[in-house]
Amino acid sequence: QVFNGHNSNAPVDYAADRIELQDKQDRVILSGNVDVKQAELRLRASRTVVNFTNQGSMQIQRITASGGVVVSRPDETATGDVGVYDFNQRIITMTGNATIKRSNGDVLRGGRLVVDLNSGVSSASAGPNGRVSGTFSVPKQKGN
């Protein structure tokens, strides 16, 4: 399926138990079952901080989520303790036993996870004692 890269400036809608706008610091704090959606990308966490700039219209710079962060995209779900979505570089970074689960059953576990929305490459590194681990699920050969 041809992937045309994720459109980072698609509209973002939020849902959370509590939303607190801190105007002076140009940021919004959402807490309690936070659920953020942007096109086919979805981010859930227990607490997020959204930083934005305010020259004229509101531009989101960065979303920092913590507490059981789950980022799901078609064919891929990434989880971790802390997740940072940088809208300018269009990169999501997950840290704290970060895991990627692919729809085809592959699993990647590492200390640090970087999902590059431009190239569509997710890379894992620096897990426990510097190793990344996981399993690939290989279809059973009819033959053997």
Partner: protein, 736 residues
């Protein structure tokens, strides 16, 4: 292709735990790496930094692959491992290569400059390897060796032999490596062609040609024997051998071995056609030439444990003529025993029904006089005596002896023995024994037995036997010379009424010889046909001493007959006269270095030595010297065909030197003087068998040359020297 390339064969560092066995449609492949990149759209995974993949094959065995970098196209299932690649297959064989393509089942595809180190020992290197359609991998310019490539302290060592071949087929499904027109390179100097070679990669036996044997003997000239080993199944195999001789027609031999769930058996057959010169003519005159005929030998044996109690054991050995084995199988047995036995054994009873037949190969013996014992039935049961706490042992035995040209004898007896063992306060062990036995014999053609002491009276004979005995042992223990000693004086009184002996045919009490083993036995005759009667008093002591590194055991004894006795025995057996000879045995053992045994029997009157045997072993398993001397000087009147006098010296030794070399030799010298044995005595020093050889053996090859000299010509077996070249490759895991 450098077979001796040093590689790390230890466990793979940084390997993930083995994946669980696959359930359902997919199989998990566990991996670990320093970092991993997952290309979203093309589904290409790139892992770098000590990447380890591990997978379980359908049988649940774990395979692992290690590489510096792995690119895995998840859609096509193609994996490329690159940089110090190391694979461990399910049988523990390790494959090292620079770069390899793998399928997602971790099956190797193309690879260059690979080295396969087998778990069972043995290394296979090749310049190029490619997998073909049927899953086999074709290796080009390959070399194999079974030798260690590093010596004890780890420095690289040149392997003693290498097998090189232009093409090798490595099939991991059949777990086999087949060499095409291979050549063996010995000590990187000599190159010998080997036609086909097959090696197994899982240590199991595999069919193939075995290493040829090279021998020479005076009667057959030079012999080359080529064997083929055929593995029929996990528990059955067949080895066929063809031997070609320069001075005789070729011989074929076949050995079939099988393991069943109840037991195991093997059948070996040898067959050839050549002219044999019979050595037993029956008419006494020398025959110089024989006619050309089929000759052969069959040897089959097996044991089957049917259940906890019942078992069947059989061993059949037959040859077509008396000199075949000595000439073709360099085996010097002078009799071939065949037996079949069915046994039932449980805690308190023993039952056996057996048959024995022997083919004699001795020049002077007539086969028709050799007995066949069929059936020989023996039943024993032990019962506790409830009244006095003793032990009953009842026995029922029957025997049927038949000879084609000699006496036939049938025997049946039943006996009951009661014994009670008590300890006195002073620590004496008193054993009281009572035995009653009833015998029934029937014999015919007694006149055909030359020896009148054995003949007995023809027809039905009965005999009743009763024996009572008191045996007192007083084991005393104490410390001495820094060790523990146990001195056990022993006295025994045995009394039996007179009963008939010479009237009874003697089939199994002929090998009479008093020694420390039977001195205190109730009946010191072997077998059952002769029983000592009258009253006798036997005394002796047993001394055992043990301290660190030393063990000494000695036993001495004599017995005195209190009642006069008609001679049942020829003089000289040590049992015949009023007082028996003095018998003794001494064993001295110093660590595992020296083991010395001396057995003797002294004539009571003249103190002449009737039997004198020394056996000494000095040295360790690598270098040792064995010496044996036997002198039988019973001067039994030599009309008796058995128990003749003999004197012999035996020596054997091995010296190991220069780490891999060893020399060995053995000799048997007949020193029986003419006086003792007119026909077969020697002039005092007649070597009969001498053997000498040298061997080179390291961790992967064994080469030996043995020279043997036979001094006895027998029929078509000539006197003279024989040579044997032994050559064996180790860690070859299969036939060549």
């Amino acid at each position: 292709q450098d077979v001796a390339r040093p590689v790390d064969t230890g466990p793979i560092a940084g390997a993930p735990a083995a994946p669980p066995v696959s359930t359902g449609e997919t199989e998990p492949v566990a991996f670990e790496a320093d970092d991993v990149q997952y290309e979203q759209n093309s589904e290409v995974v790139t892992a770098t930094g000590n990447v380890v993949l591990r997978r379980r094959d359908p049988q649940g065995q774990v395979q692992s692959v290690r590489a510096d970098k792995v690119t895995w196209n998840r859609q096509s299932g193609k994996i490329l491992a690159d940089g110090n690649v190391r694979m461990v297959d399910q049988d523990g064989n390790q494959l090292y290569t620079g770069q390899v393509e793998l399928t997602d089942e971790l099956k190797t595809g193309m690879m260059e400059n690979l080295l396969l180190v087998m778990r069972e020992g043995g290394r296979l290197a090749a310049l190029k390897g490619e997998r073909i359609a049927n899953g086999d991998v074709i290796l080009h310019k390959a070399a194999y060796t079974g030798c260690d490539v590093t010596d004890d302290d780890g420095c690289p060592k040149k392997p003693s032999w290498r097998i090189v071949a232009k093409q090798v087929i490595y099939s991991d499904t059949q777990k086999r490596v087949r060499f095409k027109d291979a050549r063996i390179e010995l000590f990187s100097a000599v190159q010998l062609p080997l036609f086909g070679l097959t090696i197994s990669t899982d240590g199991h036996a595999v069919s193939g040609f075995l290493m040829p044997d090279l021998k020479s003997s005076p009667s057959n000239g030079i012999e080359i024997a080529q064997s083929y080993y055929w593995k029929l199944a996990e528990n059955r195999d067949l080895t066929g051998t063809v031997s070609a001789f320069t001075k005789a027609a070729p011989m074929a031999s076949l050995q079939y071995r099988a393991l069943t769930d109840k037991g195991a058996y093997q059948i070996t057959g040898l067959a050839t056609a050549s002219s044999s010169i019979p050595i037993y003519s029956g008419t006494g005159e020398e025959i110089t030439s024989g006619n050309r005929s089929f000759r052969g030998y069959i040897f089959a044996n097996g044991k089957f444990q049917l259940d906890d109690n019942w078992s069947v054991t059989a061993s059949i050995r037959r040859a077509t003529d008396r000199t075949f084995l000595r000439r073709y199988d360099n085996n010097r047995d002078d009799r071939l025993r065949s037996m079949v036995e069915v046994e039932r054994i449980d805690q308190d009873s023993y039952f056996s029904i057996a048959g024995y037949a022997t083919q004699t190969l001795v020049a002077s013996r007539q086969q028709g006089l050799i007995p066949v014992a069929l059936p020989m039935i023996d039943y024993r049961r032990r019962i506790d005596d409830p009244l006095l706490g003793g032990k009953f042992e009842i026995q029922a035995n029957s025997l049927n002896i038949s000879r084609t040209d000699g006496q036939d004898t049938q025997r049946a007896f039943a006996s009951a023995q009661w014994s009670l063992r008590q300890l006195t306060r002073m620590g004496q062990e008193i054993t009281v024994t009572g035995l009653v036995r009833g015998d029934v014999y029937h014999s015919s053609d007694n006149a055909l037995t030359t020896e009148d002491l054995y003949r007995g009276l023809a027809g039905w004979q009965e005999r009743g036997i009763a024996t009572a005995a008191v045996d007192v042992k007083w084991p005393l223990v104490g410390q001495a010379f820094g060790g523990t000693q146990v001195l056990t004086p022993r006295v025994q009184l045995v009394a039996s009424p007179h009963f008939r002996n010479l009237a009874i045919p003697n089939e199994d009490s002929r090998a009479v010889d008093l020694d420390t083993g039977n001195l205190f036995a109730l009946n010191r005759f072997p077998g059952y046909d002769r029983v000592e009667d009258g009253v006798r008093f036997t005394y002796g002591f047993d001394w055992q001493f043990e301290r660190p590194r030393w063990k000494i055991k000695t036993t001495v004894g004599q017995s005195v007959r209190l009642s006069n006795q008609n001679t049942v025995l020829p003089d000289g057996t040590g049992l015949s006269n009023k007082t028996s000879d003095i018998v003794g045995r001494t064993e001295i053992r110093y660590r595992d270095f020296l083991n010395f045994i001396h057995r003797f029997r002294l004539d009571k009157d003249t103190m002449a030595v009737r039997r004198n045997e020394f056996d000494a072993v000095i040295g360790n398993t690598q270098s040792y010297l064995e010496l044996g001397y036997t002198r039988l000087n019973r001067n039994i009147v030599n009309s008796v065909e058995d128990l003749q006098d003999r004197e012999e010296l035996r020596a054997a030794g091995r010296i190991a030197f220069a780490r891999y070399w060893s020399m060995f030799g053995s000799a048997v010298v007949n020193m029986t003087s003419r006086k003792d044995n007119l026909q077969y005595g020697s002039n005092g020093f007649q070597p009969l068998r001498t053997r000498f050889g040298a061997a080179y053996e390291d961790d992967c090859v064994q080469i030996s040359l043995t020279w043997r000299r036979d001094y006895v010509a027998l029929g078509d077996v000539k006197r003279g020297d024989s040579f044997q070249l032994g050559f064996a490759l180790k860690n070859i895991g299969g036939g060549i």
